[in-house]
C-alpha cells in the first residue's frame, strides 16, 4: 500500500470509470475487438489499483465476494451458457454443446434491431473468471507483507 493522496483520489475516480469502460468492452466484444477476457482484465487492474492505493484489505471489502467465489461462479455461468444449447430445436440434446441461442427483436420494417444470446452469457462467465483469477493472485501476492 502506498500512502499517496494523489493516487488515492485518482483511484476513487478511476475505479468507477474503468469498471464502466470494462462493461462497454465486454458488450462490444461480440462483433468487434473486446470481450469478456479483456474486460475482466480491466476490472482486475482497477481493483489492483485500489489495492495499491488503499491496501488489499480495503480492496477485499469493496469486492464483497471472495475472488475465488467470483472465479467459480464465472466458470459455472460459462458452463451453463453452453447447456442452453441442449434445449434447442429438434429435441433435447439434439444440438451440439455451446451452440448459440438468440433472442432477436425486429423493427417494423423487418430488420434486426436487437439481438442477445447465450454467447453473451458465456462471455460474462469469462469476464468473472478473469476478475476472480487475477484478483485471487493479487490478493495472494500482496497479503504477504
Amino acid at each position: 500500500m502506498m500512502n499517496s493522496l494523489i493516487l488515492q483520489t485518482a483511484t476513487r475516480l478511476l475505479l468507477g470509470l474503468m469498471i464502466l469502460f470494462s462493461v462497454f468492452i465486454l458488450w462490444r466484444g461480440h462483433n468487434q475487438p473486446g470481450g469478456g477476457f479483456i474486460g475482466g482484465l480491466i476490472v482486475a487492474v482497477a481493483f489492483a489499483l485500489h489495492a495499491l492505493a488503499y491496501g488489499v484489505r480495503a480492496m477485499r471489502k469493496l469486492l464483497v465476494l471472495d475472488p475465488r467465489t467470483i472465479l467459480a461462479a464465472g466458470l459455472a455461468l460459462s458452463i451453463l451458457a453452453g447447456f442452453v444449447a441442449a434445449l434447442g430445436p429438434g429435441g433435447l440434446f439434439a444440438n451440439p454443446y455451446l451452440e448459440g441461442r438468440w433472442f432477436v427483436t425486429y423493427t417494423p420494417a423487418g430488420e434486426k434491431s436487437f439481438a442477445i444470446g447465450t454467447p453473451v452469457l458465456f462471455d460474462i462467465g469469462v469476464y468473472l473468471v478473469v476478475i476472480g483469477g487475477i484478483l485471487a493472485m493479487v490478493q495472494g501476492l500482496m497479503e504477504e507483507d
Binding site: R68, T69, L71, A72, L75, A94, N95, Y97, L98
Partner: protein, 511 residues
C-alpha cells in the same frame, strides 16, 4: 448428436466450479469431488459401451462444422483412456480423503484436482491439434498448483524444475503446431491426416514430426527429456504423486500414439523405426538404471515411470497392428499399476515413517495383508505371470520378434529383468527386513475412516490388475480393435469431415 463425447470435459469442469463455490467447506468439497468423479466414471462406461461396435462419436462444438470449429471425437482408444483415467481419478479422490490435510484442501486441492482432470479428459477427446495444446496447458497449470500446494522447500524446488522444463516442452509444442498449420493450413486432425500427404516437400513434414516427438516426448518423459520427472514427482502429497504418475506422462504417450498413427505416417522408417526406436530403448535402460541407483521408494517408482514409458514407445516404434494393440494394453496396465504403486508408497511411508530404504522395514510383520496388497502392483510391474504386466510385455515382445527387431526385444527383456531385481530389492528392504526402530504399528493403528480411505483404493486397483491378468483376452480384444481403428483411420476421418471427404486444396496452390 451425442453429448457423451463432451462429458470427460464437462463433468470435471462442473465439479471444479462447484467445489470452487464451496471453498469454505472442506467436507462439502470432498463430497462434491467424489460425486463428480463417480459421475465421470459412469459417463466413461457409457462412452465405452457406445463405441464398442466401431461407432465413432463426434460433436462439433457450438455447431461450427469441421474443419473450422473444434471437433470432439471419441473412438475406441479415447473411450478406453477416458475410462481408465476416470477410474484413477475416483481411486485418488477416495485416497485424498485420508491423505489431503484440511490446510491443503482449503487452499484449493479439490478444484485444482478437478481442473487437472478437465485437461486430461480434454486431451483424450479433442480432434483438433491446437485444442490439444490448450488441454496440455490446462493440465500443466493444474499440475503446477498441485505440486506447489503445501509450500515446503523441496516442493518448491521440484515445482520450479517442473515448471521450467515443461514450459520449454509447451513452447516446442506450440512451435510445432504453428509450423504444421503454416504448411497445411488446417489444425483439424482428421483433415491434417489428408493434407500432410499432399505437402510437396515431405522433408518439412518429417522435420515437424520430429519437433512433435520432442514436444510430446518431453510430456511423456522419454530419454533424454525426462529429467523434470524424477526431480519433481517425489515431492508433493501422495494423492498428487499418484495421479501424476498414473496419468500425466500417459497423456503424452496418447498424444504420440494419436498423431503418429493418424498424421505423421509418411516416413515411418525414419520417425518410427529410427528415432522412436532409439528413444524407446534408451528410455527403458535409463529409467530402470535410475530406479536401481536411488535408495528412496518414491524416487525409485518415479524412475520406473520413465522406464515403462519406453515399452509403450517401443510398441509405437514397431508400428504393426500387434505392437500398437500392445501399446494400448500397456497404457491400461501401466496407468493402474503406477497409480497403485505411488498410493502404496504413501501408505508405507505413513506406517514406516520414512520413504528411504534405510528407515523402512518390518512391513510384513506389522501388516501382512497390506504387504500382499502391495505385492500385486510390484509383481505386475516386474511382469510376473499371470498379472497384467506379464501379458502386456508378452504382446510387445512378440510383436518385436515378428518384426525381427532383436535389439529392442533384448533391451525390453533386460529392462524387465532389472525391474524384477528392483522389485526384489524393494521387497527385501521394505517388507522383509526388520524395521530399524524395532516393531512398527500396522494399519490397525490408523483411525478407522482414514484406514478405509487409504486402503480401499489399493484394494480396487490391485483387484483391477489381477482382473486384467486373469481376463487378459477381453482387454486384448478391445486393444486390438483400438489398434485396428488407429492403423486404418479412414472411418475416423469420415466421421469427422463427413462423407465423402471434400477434396483438400492446399493453401498457396490455387492458380
Amino acid at each position: 448428436m451425442n453429448w457423451l463425447v463432451a462429458a470427460p470435459i464437462l463433468i470435471p469442469m462442473a465439479t471444479a466450479a462447484l467445489t470452487g463455490l464451496a471453498w469454505r467447506s472442506v467436507p462439502l468439497q470432498r463430497a462434491l469431488t467424489l460425486a463428480g468423479m463417480t459421475a465421470l466414471l459412469l459417463a466413461a462406461i457409457a462412452l465405452l459401451l457406445q463405441v464398442q461396435h466401431g461407432r465413432i462419436l463426434v460433436m462439433q462444438m457450438g455447431g461450427w462444422a469441421a474443419p473450422f470449429g473444434i471437433t470432439l471425437v471419441a473412438d475406441m482408444l479415447t473411450a478406453i483412456m477416458v475410462l481408465v483415467s476416470a477410474l484413477m481419478a475416483l481411486a485418488v479422490a477416495v485416497y485424498s480423503l485420508g491423505d489431503i490435510d484440511p490446510v491443503r484442501a482449503r487452499t484449493g486441492f479439490h478444484p485444482v484436482f478437478c481442473a487437472l482432470m478437465v485437461g486430461v479428459g480434454g486431451a483424450f477427446v479433442t480432434g483438433d491439434l491446437f485444442n490439444m495444446y490448450v488441454w496440455f496447458e490446462v493440465m500443466l497449470i493444474g499440475s503446477f498448483v498441485l505440486l506447489a500446494l503445501g509450500g515446503r522447500k523441496e516442493q518448491l524446488d521440484g515445482a520450479i524444475k517442473y515448471a521450467c522444463l515443461n514450459l520449454v516442452a509447451t513452447a516446442a509444442l506450440l512451435l510445432a503446431v504453428a509450423l504444421l498449420y503454416g504448411v497445411t493450413g488446417t489444425l483439424n486432425m482428421a483433415e491434417l491426416a489428408l493434407r500432410v500427404r499432399m505437402v510437396p516437400n515431405q522433408g518439412i513434414v518429417t522435420t515437424i514430426a520430429v519437433l512433435f516427438i520432442v514436444a510430446f516426448g518431453m510430456k511423456a518423459a522419454v530419454f533424454p527429456l525426462f529429467f523434470w520427472l524424477p526431480a519433481a514427482y517425489h515431492t508433493p502429497a501422495v494423492a498428487v504423486q499418484a495421479i501424476f504418475a498414473g496419468l500425466l506422462t500417459k497423456v503424452g504417450v496418447y498424444a504420440l500414439l494419436r498423431t503418429f498413427t493418424l498424421i505423421f505416417t509418411g516416413d515411418t522408417g525414419w520417425t518410427h523405426g529410427g528415432i522412436l526406436m532409439w528413444i524407446a530403448g534408451l528410455t527403458m535402460l535409463a529409467g530402470v538404471l535410475g530406479s536401481l541407483a536411488v535408495r528412496d521408494l518414491r524416487r525409485a517408482w518415479s524412475w520406473q515411470v520413465v522406464a515403462h514409458i519406453g515399452y509403450m514407445i517401443m510398441g509405437l516404434a514397431l508400428y504393426t497392428p500387434l505392437a500398437v494393440a500392445g501399446v494400448v494394453f500397456y497404457l491400461v496396465h501401466d496407468i493402474v499399476v503406477k497409480t497403485n504403486l505411488f498410493l502404496g508408497a504413501g501408505v508405507v511411508r505413513r506406517l514406516g515413517g520414512s520413504a528411504d530404504y534405510a528407515g523402512l522395514g518390518g512391513l510384513f510383520k506389522a501388516a501382512p495383508l497390506l504387504a500382499v496388497l502391495l505385492f500385486v502392483p510390484m509383481a505386475s510391474l516386474a511382469g510376473f505371470p499371470p498379472l497384467s504386466g506379464f501379458w502386456s510385455k508378452l504382446v510387445l515382445v512378440q510383436a518385436g520378434l515378428e518384426q525381427q527387431s532383436w535389439a529392442i526385444v533384448a533391451v525390453a527383456l533386460v529392462t524387465g529383468l532389472l525391474t524384477m531385481a528392483l522389485v526384489g530389492r524393494v521387497w527385501a528392504e521394505v517388507v522383509w527386513k526388520p524395521h530399524p526402530d524395532g516393531d512398527i504399528a500396522g494399519t490397525a493403528a490408523l483411525p478407522a475412516g482414514q484406514r478405509l480411505a487409504l486402503v480401499a483404493p489399493l484394494v480396487l486397483l490391485s483387484g483391477i490388475t489381477v482382473a486384467i491378468g486373469l481376463y487378459a483376452q477381453p482387454v486384448m480384444d478391445l486393444s486390438s480393435r483400438a489398434a485396428a481403428d488407429l492403423l486404418s483411420p479412414e472411418p475416423y476421418i469420415r466421421a469427422i469431415l463427413g462423407e465423402p471427404p471434400p477434396p483438400p486444396v492446399l493453401v498457396g496452390e490455387l492458380p
